[in-house]
C-alpha cells in the first residue's frame, strides 16, 4: 500500500468518525506525521481529484477518493485477518501497521483467497481498536472449515 493510500484510508476513517471533514491536525496525529507533511500530501490528493480541502473546515474525500480509501481499508483488513488467522500472530494489529506499506493490493487479493472475510468488510473496521470488528482473535491459528 503506498503512502497516498495510507492517507486516504486515514482521512476516510477520521471523516466517518467525525461525521464531517477531517481536520489536518487529526490526520497528522493519526498518521504520526507533522502537519506540514500532512498538508503536502493532502495537496497531492487534491490535485488527483481524490480529496477536497476547505479552509478552516478540513479535508473531505471525493467519491473517487472514497472508493480508493475503502479499497485500502479492505487491504488492511485482509492483512490483519491473514496475520491473525493464518499465521497466528498475536500482535497482528501492530504488525499489520508495520507491513501495510510493503504489501500491495494485488498481494492482499491473493491472501484473501485463503481467509474468511465477512461480506460487510470494510464497514466492519473499528477505528477505536484499529482492527476489523468481526475479527475473532481467539481463533485457532489455522482455520480449516
Amino acid at each position: 500500500m503506498n503512502t497516498a493510500d495510507q492517507y486516504l484510508k486515514t482521512i476516510y476513517v477520521v471523516q466517518e468518525q467525525e461525521d464531517g471533514p477531517a481536520s489536518t491536525g487529526s490526520i497528522a496525529d493519526a498518521l504520526d506525521v507533522s502537519p506540514a507533511s500532512a498538508n503536502e500530501m493532502i495537496g497531492k490528493l487534491e490535485e488527483r481529484g481524490l480529496a477536497e480541502h476547505e479552509k478552516y473546515k478540513g479535508v473531505r474525500l471525493t467519491d473517487d477518493g472514497i472508493v480508493r480509501a475503502r479499497d485500502a481499508l479492505q487491504t488492511y483488513c485482509i492483512i490483519e485477518r491473514f496475520l491473525a488467522n493464518v499465521l497466528g500472530v498475536e500482535e497482528f494489529r501492530a504488525e499489520a501497521r508495520e507491513l501495510e506499506a510493503v504489501i500491495d493490493d494485488t498481494v492482499a487479493e491473493r491472501l484473501d483467497t485463503i481467509i474468511d472475510r465477512q461480506p460487510e468488510c470494510p464497514d466492519c473496521f473499528d477505528p477505536e481498536t484499529d482492527a476489523c470488528a468481526c475479527l475473532e482473535v481467539a481463533m485457532a491459528p489455522v482455520e480449516s472449515d
Binding site: 498518521l31 494489529r93 508495520e98 510493503v102 500491495d104 498481494v107 483467497t113
Partner: protein, 164 residues
C-alpha cells in the same frame, strides 16, 4: 485511532522473517491452486496447460524451499504446506476459475502477484539500513533470482494466452 508510520521500511529480523513467511504462503497458494485446477478439469486438460500448471507448481515448491532456507537463518518457522492446502481447499469453490481462459488468467495473476511481492520486498530491503542476522547479499541475490523467474513466468503465460 492508533497512529501509524507512513511508508515504514523493514527494520528488523522479525519483520523480514514475517515478509518471507508471507512469500512462502503466496508460493503455497500458487502450488495448491495449480493442483486444484489440474484436478478440477483433468479429463479435458490439454498438454500445454497441463505442462504449464505442473511447471508452476514445481517452481513454487522450489521458491518455497529457498525462502525456507532464508528464514531458517532468522530462527523463524515456516508455514506447513498442508495447512495452506487445507485453507485453499476450504475457499477454492468460491474463487475458482470457470474455464481454461480463467485458469490461465488465474495463473497470470499468480505470477504477477508474486513478481510484485518480491519487487516491493527487494525495494524495501534496499531502502533499509537495518543489519539482519543473515547475509544481506545472499538475501537480495536469492530474492532477485526468484523475482526474475516470476517475470519469466508472466511472459510464458502471456505468450500462451496470446496464442490461444
Amino acid at each position: 485511532m492508533v497512529a501509524v508510520s507512513v511508508s515504514q521500511r523493514i527494520g528488523s529480523d522479525d519483520q523480514l522473517a514475517r515478509l518471507l513467511q508471507i512469500g512462502i504462503v503466496l508460493e503455497e497458494v500458487v502450488e495448491a491452486r495449480a493442483h486444484h485446477h489440474y484436478r478440477g478439469v483433468d479429463a479435458e486438460l490439454d498438454d500445454e496447460i497441463e505442462a504449464l500448471l505442473a511447471d508452476a507448481a514445481e517452481e513454487s515448491a522450489d521458491h518455497r524451499e529457498r525462502l525456507e532456507s532464508l528464514i531458517a537463518g532468522l530462527g523463524v518457522d515456516s508455514v506447513p504446506f498442508d495447512e495452506i492446502e487445507s485453507l485453499v481447499d476450504a475457499r477454492y469453490g468460491r474463487t475458482k476459475p470457470e474455464d481454461f481462459d480463467g485458469i490461465l488468467y488465474d495463473q497470470l495473476c499468480n505470477e504477477e502477484t508474486a513478481y510484485k511481492f518480491y519487487d516491493d520486498l527487494i525495494e524495501a530491503i534496499e531502502a533499509s539500513d537495518a543489519a539482519f542476522s543473515i547475509d544481506r547479499e545472499r538475501l537480495l541475490e536469492t530474492l532477485r533470482t526468484i523475482r526474475e523467474e516470476e517475470a519469466e513466468g508472466v511472459s510464458e503465460v502471456t505468450e500462451v494466452m496470446e496464442r490461444r
